[in-house]
Structure formats: C-alpha cells, structure tokens
C-alpha cells in the first residue's frame, strides 16, 4: 500500500512539473540545437493509385518532449509513426516531405543506412510486446543483441553493464535469473518494460511508441506510462506517442496533435488543447471520452472518417461537422494560430457543437431482489478444476443495468459466460426470474436460450464472415421456429432499430465498419426479444466515438425494451453512462456492489479506490464548449423516419 501511495504522489508531482518542463523544452527547442525530430509536409500515398493516406503532416518534437499523436483507427497516425523510422508499409510509399532527426534525413536511405539508424538514432516500441519479443530468445540475450548490432559501448563488459543499467531504468530486476527468462515467463507489463528497455538501449534521440499500453490493465498501464515519461525526461529523448486513447495522452504528453483522415487538424500544448479544443472533431473526441467524476455524459458522432480515395473536396471533416459551410466544402482550411503554440485547421474554430451535457438520468428506482430478472446465488466457476470465480452473488432487476467491472483475470468474463451458458464448469445457482438455468446452453430449453442473449466483445470475431448479416441476425428466429418470411421482416425491423438499414441484411461482415458490426451483433441479440442481455466488453474493440454511440444505443434500447442488462467491462468511467448499479470484481470475488454513482465517487473498498486512481482521466477545467440543444434540432442528423416495431417485453 505504501509503495502505491508513494507512486501516486510521484505522479502528482510530475504533473505539476510538466508546465515548467514544457517551458524549458520549448526554450531548448528554440535554441541552436533545433528540435530533435522534424516532420515537414509529409505525404504518404497508396503506391498503386496515388491516393493520399496522409498529407501535409508537419510536426516537430524537442528533446525530452512527449508529443501525443491522437486519432481514430484509419486516421493515418501509425503510418506517420512508421515514417519517422523511414518505413512505409507494403503498398504505401512516402512521396513528398521531410523527416529529419537532429538534421539527419530519414528518407531515401539505403537498407544498410536504415539498419544502422534504427535502434541507434530512432527506435520503436510496438503495440503488442507479446508478439514483438522473440519467444525463443532469453530477454537478456535480446537486449544484448540490440547493443551488439550497433556496437554500443565497444566491449562485451560495457554492454553487460548497459543491460544492468537499462533494467534499473525500466524498473525491472537486473538479476541474472531474471535476464535468463523467456518472454512468456514475464507478465504483459514486464514484457512491455523489456520492449522499452530495447528501445532505449542505444540512447536514441527519438522514440516512437505505438499504443504501447493498449493491452495492459489500468494499474500496469499507469506504471508503464510513468516509466516512459521518466525515461524521456531524464535522457532528453523526443517521444512520438501514437494512440487513440485521449485519457492516456492527457496524463503523458506535453503537446498533442489530433489527426483526422490523414491530416493533422489541431495541435497544441496538452493542457490548452484539452481545456480549449478549437476543432469540432477534437471537441467531439473529448466529448466521447467517459468522464468519471464530472456530470458530463458521453456523446457519439454520426458517420465515419473517409478512407483514402474517398476523401471529399475541402475539409475531410465537413460531412460530419455541424458547423460546416460552403467554404468548408471547397478547400482544406490552412493552418491557423489560435494562441501561441496552438494551431488548428478549421474555418470555424470554436463553433458550438451539440453534445450531451447531462448524464443519462439514473433515477430508475429498482427494488433490489424483489423482482430480479437474473439472480446469481453462490456461483463459483473453475477451469479444469482450478477455481477462478468464488461465491458470486448478484441480481439484476427487470429494466436494470448492472455493470460488472474488473481487470483482466478478475473472472468477470467467466461469470458472464456462465450466465450465457458458454462456460459449463460452475456450481451454485443462476436463476432467470424464478427458473434455475442449466449449466450449458445446449441443456437449456430453446425458449430459455432465446430469453438470455449475449453480445460478444469483438465484433470482428462474433459474426461469421461467410454469412450475410441477415442470416446471422435472423438465426435466433430460425432456431426459435419462425418462418423465413417472418424472420426476414423482423430482421429488417431490428436492423432499423439499431440505426442500420434493412439493406444491411444483404451485406457481409467485411463490408461493415467495426461500429456497424457491433450494431448488427446487438440486433442479433435483440431480435428474439430477450429479457436478459449480457454485454461482454462490447466496446473495447471500438474507437472512442463509436464506443460512445454504441453505449448510447444500448442504453436507449435497454430502457425502451425494459431489458435486464449485465454490462461487463474493464472501463470504469464508461459505466457511468449506462449502469444503474456497479459491481467491482477482483481475483474472482465481488469486492464492492452499489449504485454506480456511489461506487465511482465514494468507493468503500481500497481496491476500488486504487482502480479509480490508476484510471487515466482528462482533467478538464471546463469541458468542451456546449450548446444546450440536442441533435434532434437538426433533421439531417437524426435517425431516418422508420416504423420502429413495438417490442413488448
């Protein structure tokens, strides 16, 4: 505990120092050394068609500075990150622009030159350390290899000493026993620390980090972020931190650049950008990030970012922008200065956008236990004899949403899979209404199976790629014995209900975006008019704007249809936007249950407090500019008028 509290204090002090640091780095950057990394007018094309993946990207990062490059998937942020290493992915090529590290151009180098540069001058920390480390080599050997490749230190003894030094820097034990471990013998956080050590090994001047904490738990993530920040500060390394997670950027970066459809639309110091975002897109992004303590809800954004080759004339954000005018559709806006160091590419910066200012009312009074749709009594679950869930007691009332929150390995998914009949090794009682459920879905009567439905985590995996959306969504009806004509009609209605159109029934999953797929998966779960809906991490594979929209949809459907919902997630702030009550799970046990508001603001258990402290947050002094009107006012942005079926549950 004491170690933990020390760390928290440490973080706080680093935060307060940031402003001073930023000033000093800016002074440093303006000095005779120049910035450590300069990207100027970078354009990367699809080789075959010449369509731009990214264009007009200009950035500079000073020594010791962390720049967060933020964007949704497909925005081109990783492409820019790789270009810093002089690399373009297969099928893409760097056509114009400059990438310079300390005055040394990274473009147009030969294979040999690139090999010498990478690791020594610039290095890369990939997203998934589990696949980036060589599973067949001991970690000590892998670290030495980097140093040997660049002939660092000049002697074996010097290199060994450097490895010890590195291990200390990334806060890993540098003992021979530890260095003799293989990657699979390390935890995810430890693996990522080894990845960091490899990147920092030859003291590069620039480091590119590509979402290095995506797969990690919040507490591990907090520690790894601390290490990254510390290393960059101490050794004066310029860091380009590529991520989709605004909250992470808010806790780590000095400056932030926001990318949309291959261009940087806004750039500025982190504090300024989160306090006074100028570009409507940035403000939408911030509005979509769940806020744990404030009283702001989350807002999604209709539409999706245009892909290369489909980008409109003018501003790429114009089709989704409420403030768009004719001017926006003619030419891409040029860079404008908002304040010193804060630039934006928008004709109408600061234009008001419609976001949800209030939280969804959670005034539903649910009598606990009296009329529960789903009850778990003394449920323990195990995997091949090893118990991972211990004596869980929960109930979800009719029309109530219960969030089940926990870190990975806490057993939350095992609980939800047991409810769904997908995990068979459990004891205790799971009741739907007053009926006890059989262990496996196959042993439950059809009618029970249809009344409990399950939405899976990953929409890229939960829809059969060889079946049309219509076939997948209609399957529960076919199993339930509906005629094919009935099924087709109901599928069409349900697709409209989740804000798709009936035409989607003919499409295959690979023609849909992630958000659309998850909508289709939700339609499949709801088409049989269930009473209980189990949602297992349904937004963790989605971008933040899509996540906001999906949560919004689920919350609407849940209250409209009176569903009892078990919402499993690791994303603590998210539960505020949907759950009436929240249960926190750790090591297979429920540690705290209570009304969401109370659990998040006045947690009773130490574990919950720690979890909350480690969760990165955007510290907005005042949130994005808001207007009190809803999107309803703009007919173009509301749902198409379709007959919505009355689902009487």
């Amino acid at each position: 505990m004491s170690e933990r509290s020390e760390r928290t204090i440490d973080t706080a002090s680093t935060r307060s120092e940031r402003t001073i640091d930023t000033v000093s780095t800016q002074r440093h950057g303006a000095g005779d050394d120049g910035p450590a990394l300069t990207i100027d007018g970078l354009r990367i094309d699809v080789t075959r068609s010449g369509e731009d993946i990214v264009d007009e990207v200009s950035l500079s990062i000073g020594a010791g500075e962390v720049l967060g490059l933020v964007g949704e998937s497909g925005s081109g942020k990783t492409t820019v990150g790789l270009a810093v290493l002089g690399h373009s992915r297969k099928g893409a090529s760097i056509s114009t622009g400059r990438v310079e590290i300390g005055g040394y151009s990274m473009l147009g180098l030969s294979a040999v030159q690139l090999r010498l540069t990478r690791g020594a001058l610039v290095s890369y920390v990939p997203q998934d350390p589990g696949t980036a480390l060589n599973p067949a080599l001991r970690i000590g050997k892998q670290l030495l290899e980097v140093l040997e490749t660049h002939d660092f230190g000049g002697s074996d003894a010097a290199r060994r000493a450097r490895v010890d030094e590195l291990m200390a820097e990334v806060l890993l034990p540098g003992t021979p026993q530890f260095l003799r471990r293989y990657p699979h013998q390390l935890s995810g956080g430890q693996q990522q620390r080894v990845g960091l050590a490899m990147a920092f090994a030859c003291r590069p001047s620039v480091i590119v980090l590509d979402e290095p904490t995506t797969g990690l738990d919040v507490s591990t993530q907090a520690h790894v972020l601390d290490t990254v920040r510390g290393l960059c500060r101490t050794h004066g390394v310029a860091a380009l931190y590529v991520t989709h997670d605004l909250a992470v950027v808010a806790t780590l970066a000095d400056r932030v650049a926001v990318m949309y459809a291959g261009r940087i639309v806004e750039e500025g110091p982190a504090a300024v950008l989160f306090d006074e975002p100028a570009h409507p897109y940035t403000r939408h992004l911030i509005a979509a990030v769940p806020d744990m303590t404030g009283d702001r809800g989350i807002t999604g954004l209709p539409g999706r970012a245009p892909s290369p080759g489909h980008r409109p004339q003018g501003c790429s954000f114009a089709p989704r922008c409420e403030a768009a005018t004719d001017e926006c559709r003619t030419a891409f806006p040029s860079v404008q200065l908002v304040t010193i160091g804060h630039t934006v590419r928008c004709y109408h910066p600061m234009a008001p956008i419609a976001i949800r200012e209030d939280l969804r009312p959670m005034a539903r009074t649910i009598d606990p236990g009296a009329d529960a749709a789903l009850t778990l009594r003394g449920v323990s679950a195990s995997y091949s004899g090893q118990t991972v869930v211990h004596d869980v007691n929960l109930h979800v009332g009719r029309g109530e949403c219960l969030a089940l929150v926990g870190e990975s390995g806490s057993g939350k998914t095992t609980v939800s899979r047991s409810v769904g009949g997908l995990h068979r090794e459990w004891t205790g009682e799971i009741l739907m209404g007053s009926i006890a459920l059989a262990r496996s879905a196959r042993d439950r009567p059809v009618e029970q199976r249809l009344r409990i439905q399950y939405v899976f985590q990953n929409p890229y995996s939960s829809l059969n790629p060889r079946r049309t959306i219509g076939e997948s969504v209609g399957r529960p009806l076919v199993v339930g014995g509906s005629s094919s004509a009935d099924a087709r009609r109901l599928v069409g209605e349900m697709l409209e209900r989740v804000s798709l159109t009936a035409a989607y029934a003919e499409r295959y999953p690979d023609q849909l975006s992630g958000g659309e797929r998850q909508r289709a998966a939700i339609a499949r779960a709801l088409v049989s008019k269930p009473e209980v809906l189990v949602c297992d991490e349904v937004t963790s594979a989605l971008d933040v704007l899509v996540q906001a929209a999906i949560v919004d949809l689920l919350a609407d459907l849940q209250s409209d249809l009176g569903l009892a919902m078990l919402f499993v997630t690791h994303n603590l702030p998210l539960v505020r936007s949907i759950a009436d009550r929240t249960a926190v799970m750790a090591d297979g046990r429920i540690v705290e249950v209570g009304p969401t508001e109370a659990v998040l603001t006045r947690p009773e258990q130490e574990y919950t407090r720690r979890l909350l402290a480690d969760t990165p947050q955007i510290n907005e002094t005042h949130p994005a500019m808001t207007v009190p009107t809803g999107l309803h006012d703009d007919p173009a942005l509301t749902v198409p008028a379709v007959a919505v079926p009355e689902l009487d549950v």
Partner: protein, 296 residues
C-alpha cells in the same frame, strides 16, 4: 435528450468493396491460369480422346515397337497396337480413380478434422493419434498389400488411395478449424444451442474452405502419382487395358527403339500433376493473401 449515430447520415457512404473469393483471386495469378489450361487440355484428352481414337485399344495395326508405320502418328507398341489410340483411350481410368478417391479421402478427413478441432478433448486425441498411425504407413506399400490381398479391382484402389489421403486432410482441416472454433461466432451459435452438425457444417466449414481447397488439389496430385505408381508396378486395373500408367510399364523395354509408347503417358501424367499442382499453388497464395486481409 438522445444522440443517435446513424450509419447512413450525410448521404455519402464509402464502403470497402467485398473481397474476391479464393477461386477468383487464385485465377488472377498466372500460375493458376497456366495450371488450369494444362488440366483442361489433359482432362479433354481423357474425356473426348476415346471418341477420337482412330483404332481400337487391342487392334493390331502393324509390327510391334515400330515408329514409322504409315498412317500412325506415334507408331506401335510391344503388341503392335496403335500408341496414339491407346493414349487417347487410357486417360479415363487414372483420372476417374484419382478424382473419386480424392473426394472420398477429402470428405472423411474433413469430418474427422472438424470433429477433432471442435472437441479438443479426449476425442481429439484419439482421432489424431489414429491419424498418426495411418500416416506412419508407407502409402505405396499399404496400397500394394491391399491390392495383392483384395485383388486388382477399381474399388480397392479407390478406397486404399482415399485411405492414404485421410490423415493429411484431417490434420489440415483440424489445424485450420482450431482458429475458427475459438472465434466468438461459434460461441454465439453455442449460446443459441445450435446442434454440433450445424456448427461444424454451417459455421466452421465455410471458414476452412480455402485451405481445404488447396489441400484437395494437392491430394489430387498425390492420388494421380500413387495410382500411376500402382499401374506402373503392374497392379493397375486389368491386363492390357489401355491405361497411361500401365503403358509406361509395358513399353519401357522398347524405350530406345519406340519411345512414344512410354513418353506420351509419362508426359501426360507429369503434366497433369504439374497442372493440378500449379492450381493448388495459386489457391494457396490466394488463401494466404485473403487471410492476411489484403485482396491478393
């Protein structure tokens, strides 16, 4: 107040084009096209050859092992029969046997592989160890033993060749299906209480069709080779019946004086395996490309 995202807002939708199927992608590659031309030619010979043969299979048309008999394209064989006619007549057997035995082997192996992958328990172990045992036998020896004990009948050859194909197909199917059964749409089907047959046949099978298609072509080349080898060793179907493999065996003694009786069938069988192999290769590349999410 509610905010609802609609996927079809602002009129303009750009949507990824659905990827081409494995077969379409494969035949975008030259290797597969060349393979297809070769296979079509040889299948054409086998199917339509008998209608074009100028002489009967066992008709004596000249002195044995002669090259320059007037009116004959490729001379005569060891019994004075027309080589060209026997070549045109002799393709059907090997093709039919190879295709039928491959199909049987493919089906049985596929079922075993799917069941094993989906079970992943004791049944998986039992099935796959049984496959290992079959796999350990030398194919040709097994075929020879079967043909000598059960007789030189078509069905014996078909069954034994199919039998040798089963373990390979089962392994490939299981390997491909292991990745599929882990995916959530299988979980979705289980949560709906779908039958095992539905899950294997309708959910898993379509997703392993690519690798299976490649394997089918590979198995076909092996079947052709194995049936060819049996024929060459004199264990093919029927003495003196026109059959490419048997022709090689019968005429090889006269290879230096009248080479066509041996060379024609050698070319045919060789080309057939190369052609089918090229198609398999093209399919394999297409499957790999599609699995990596780029339209080859």
């Amino acid at each position: 107040m509610t905010v609802v995202e609609t996927a079809i807002v602002s009129g303009r939708i750009d949507r990824p084009v659905r990827q081409r199927g494995v077969i379409a992608a494969a035949f975008g590659l030259w290797r597969a096209r060349i393979g297809a031309v070769i296979v079509v030619l040889l299948v054409g010979v086998a199917v339509f050859g008998p209608f074009l043969a100028p002489h009967g299979a066992t008709e004596f048309v000249g002195p044995p092992n002669t090259n320059d008999v007037p009116g004959l394209l490729f001379g005569t064989d060891r019994l004075g029969q027309d080589v060209w006619s026997r070549f045109l007549l002799g393709g059907r057997t090997i093709l039919v046997l190879a295709v039928v035995s491959t199909l049987i082997g493919l089906f049985v192996g596929m079922v075993i592989g799917l069941v094993a992958a989906y079970d992943r328990g004791r049944l998986d172990n039992v099935l796959m160890r049984a496959m290992d045992v079959v796999f350990a036998f030398p194919n040709l020896l097994l075929a020879l033993v079967a043909v000598t004990t059960l007789g030189r009948r078509s069905w014996v050859i078909i069954l034994i060749v199919a039998f040798t194909a089963v373990p390979r197909v089962a392994r490939i199917t299981r390997g491909a299906a292991l990745g599929v059964v882990e995916r959530d749409f299988i979980g979705a089907a289980e949560a709906l209480g779908e039958s095992r047959r539905h899950i294997l046949g309708a959910e898993v099978l379509p997703n392993v069709a690519g690798p299976l298609l490649v394997e089918a072509n590979l198995r076909l080349t092996y079947s052709i080779a194995l049936i060819g080898a049996l024929g060459f060793l004199g264990f093919g179907v029927g003495l003196n019946q026109p059959d490419w493999a048997q022709m090689i065996n019968e005429n090889r003694a006269a290879l230096s004086t009248a080479p066509w009786g041996t060379l024609l069938p050698i070319f045919a069988i060789g080309l057939l395996t190369v052609g089918v192999g090229l198609i398999a290769d093209g399919l394999g590349r297409a499957v790999a490309g599609i699995d990596r999410g780029r339209p080859s």
